[in-house]
């Protein structure tokens, strides 16, 4: 089928619906948020329309810098962990029998039906001292006695990776299924071990998909606010937790909006950087 550039105004018709949705559900809310972030906070009350910078000024401090830094590092770590587990897993999955594939995909999809609250509580039970997995280890003689594994950074990471992994697999799966098996076969014939073939042929061939997956999980993890609260100590709280605090508990909408705008801008910048770096490498 040949694609022709639109000639008449009516040719743009199909765009109306998606554009409308984008405006109603993204542009307008985001613009409102930007506007609110400049409003003036009335302590002990709510806010009134104004144009002040103080919400942003309050954010620019060492404390919030650290929280922002931690949130970004956590999101990157989750993205890296998901891809590190997801790529080999999906590769093996795409090479297995159809029934096995269906079984795994159904299991993964069913994880998506769990809410963040359920995932958080399930992991906090599993990692607890009184009812957790360490009781089993102690019973098997691997540990001296049961101990609590939560709250900790590891607990936050584990639960967030668990939550994001199904998305990772679902994004990687189509690309890996479509990957030409003759590529690896050629590598094998030339004497590469399966592991070497995976790293020198499969991974580079999937580079764009992997970058896209990293970015998706990164953004997904950046918005997480419940799991860090349920499974982490206060120093593991992300910026999203503090935004929630301001918006829901302190009724400080302008400051919450300013933090949210900042978070969106920083993540957009990082994504832009990743895409730009990807293009440069492709061009080189």
């Amino acid at each position: 089928m040949r694609r022709e550039p639109p000639q008449r105004l009516a040719d743009y018709g199909p765009l109306v619906f998606p554009a409308g949705m984008l405006i109603v559900f993204f542009v307008i809310p985001f613009a409102t948020m930007i506007a609110v972030s400049f409003f003036e906070r009335q302590q002990g009350g709510f806010y009134q329309p104004a144009f002040v910078w103080e919400n942003y000024a309050r954010f620019i401090s060492l404390f919030f810098g650290k929280v922002l830094g931690f949130s970004l590092v956590l999101a990157m770590a989750v993205a890296a962990a998901c891809v590190a587990i997801g790529v080999p897993f999906t590769y093996l999955l795409s090479r297995s029998v159809r029934n096995v594939q269906i079984l795994w995909l159904v299991a993964l999809l069913s994880i998506l039906s769990l809410s963040e609250v359920m995932i958080g509580f399930a992991w906090s039970t599993l990692l607890s001292r009184t009812a957790g997995i360490t009781n089993l280890f102690a019973y098997l003689g691997l540990m001296a006695g049961p101990q609590a594994l939560t709250p900790s950074f590891g607990a936050v990471m584990t639960a967030m990776t668990y939550q994001a992994l199904p998305y990772t697999v679902l994004v990687l799966y189509p690309a890996l299924v479509r990957l030409d098996p003759t590529l690896t076969e050629a590598a094998r014939t030339l004497g590469a071990s399966p592991i070497r073939a995976f790293f020198t042929v499969v991974v580079p061939a999937l580079r764009n998909t992997i970058v896209a997956t990293l970015i998706m999980v990164f953004i997904f993890a950046l918005g997480s606010y419940l799991l860090p609260q349920l499974l982490g100590r206060p120093q593991h709280w992300t910026l999203s937790v503090l935004i929630t605090d301001q918006a829901i508990y302190q009724s400080n909408m302008p400051f919450a909006a300013a933090m949210a705008v900042f978070l969106v801008l920083v993540s957009l910048a990082l994504v832009g950087l990743a895409v730009y770096a990807g293009r440069r490498r492709e061009a080189a």
Binding site: Q246, Y249, Q250
Partner: protein, 362 residues
């Protein structure tokens, strides 16, 4: 009360309300029979269940006004929703039970419809401090119930009950505490001031507040969980995962009555006394019914039912109640309570919040 996760219960309530609403529309005769109605917000979970069983049906029987109860989240979260809705001319609930900090914040934006005391004659029995007034004397809220936040322990982990809030600072309790995560609902500044500075007067100045913060920061190594969600701590306390902390006296008593190994202790410095008031959103069109409801709730018999069934402390004068000494002791204490410095949360809320967040997360 005051908790976000119990909105899971509210989801069910919303579904239920939706069903009820749909079936009422399908049967217009019922709609006509009960056309006087009122939406009342009470804290979700145990509180709401208890009101739904013990209070609201009797009220409808007595007055013919149907009650639709709404599970509200933590005081200030609900306040934000009410305020946003009122700006749009909507009232998600006509009458809400509001904690004192939230009530004061709502006053500053005139969120609450002024109440006509002539229509609430039973309010004459109220303890004076439980009538909330605007600075110009209009009545913004009427005391509904009061409750204590006390020192709670798991009886398996602590065979001996602690006697003082100083236990929070005891190095022996490293990594064993669960404390409320917000400055404005934990009231830990007041606890620290009373325990280590001889009283809450030290909180009069910012310097004093900072000194109290420094002292409070010393409990951090003992804290395992700073909770926003009550259910999370309650569960951990029952199982002994987190064997000590601050929690609501009423709910702890109910959990103990159910056979859980938990106890609530009034420390020698006193429990924290907070209260909830009935307040009406200015966007509500049911002001008349709201007055009838609040008046009904101020009756001594109703207050006694609340103490017996919900475990809250009454807001009306002791001598009007038929509670036995034993029943009264179960919901209160002779030890002078720690009264939160509500003025501080209203005037310095951003300062307190910033220092608090830096203290616990820094």
């Amino acid at each position: 009360m005051r908790d976000i996760m119990k909105t899971t219960a509210s989801r069910r309530a919303v579904l239920g309300a939706g069903l009820t609403g749909a079936s009422m529309l399908a049967m217009p005769s019922i709609l006509r029979a009960q056309d006087r109605s009122l939406t009342v917000g009470v804290y979700g979970g145990y509180f709401k269940d208890s009101f739904d069983t013990n209070i609201f049906p009797e009220f409808t029987k007595a007055t013919g006004i149907a009650i639709q109860s709404v599970a509200e989240p933590t005081g200030e979260a609900w306040l934000v929703q009410l305020e946003q809705a009122a700006r749009a001319g909507q009232a998600p609930a006509d009458v809400s039970m509001m904690s004192q900090v939230a009530l004061l914040k709502g006053q500053s934006t005139d969120l609450w419809a002024p109440l006509d005391m002539a229509k609430i004659e039973n309010a004459s029995g109220l303890i004076e401090t439980f009538i909330n007034k605007y600075p110009d004397g209009r009545v913004a809220g009427i005391g509904a119930v009061s409750w204590y936040i006390t020192l709670v322990t798991n009886t398996d982990s602590y065979p001996e009950a602690p006697t003082s809030w100083a236990a929070l600072w005891d190095p022996a309790n490293a990594d064993k505490l669960g404390l409320l995560a917000l400055v404005s609902n934990s009231f830990l500044l007041e606890v620290t001031a009373k325990t280590h500075f001889g009283g809450t007067e030290v909180l009069d100045t910012e310097e004093g507040i900072l000194k109290v913060f420094d002292k409070l920061a010393e409990v951090k190594p003992n804290v395992r969980l700073w909770y926003r969600d009550e259910a999370q701590f309650e569960q951990a306390l029952k199982s002994g995962e987190i064997p000590m902390g601050q929690y609501y006296h009423d709910v702890t008593g109910l959990a103990a009555a159910d056979g859980n190994p938990v106890r609530s202790t009034f420390p020698k410095e006193g429990g924290i006394l907070d209260s909830g008031s009935w307040a009406v959103s200015r966007a509500s069109e049911k002001l008349e019914e709201a007055h009838v409801f609040i008046n009904y709730m101020c009756q001594p018999e109703i207050q006694a039912i609340l103490s017996r069934k919900v475990g809250t402390s009454p807001t009306i004068k002791r001598d009007l109640l038929d509670l036995t000494a034993e029943e009264f002791a179960a919901v209160s204490s002779d030890i002078a309570p720690i009264i939160p410095r509500y003025d501080m949360y209203q005037q310095k809320s951003d300062f307190l919040n910033q220092k608090w967040t830096e203290m616990i997360a820094g």
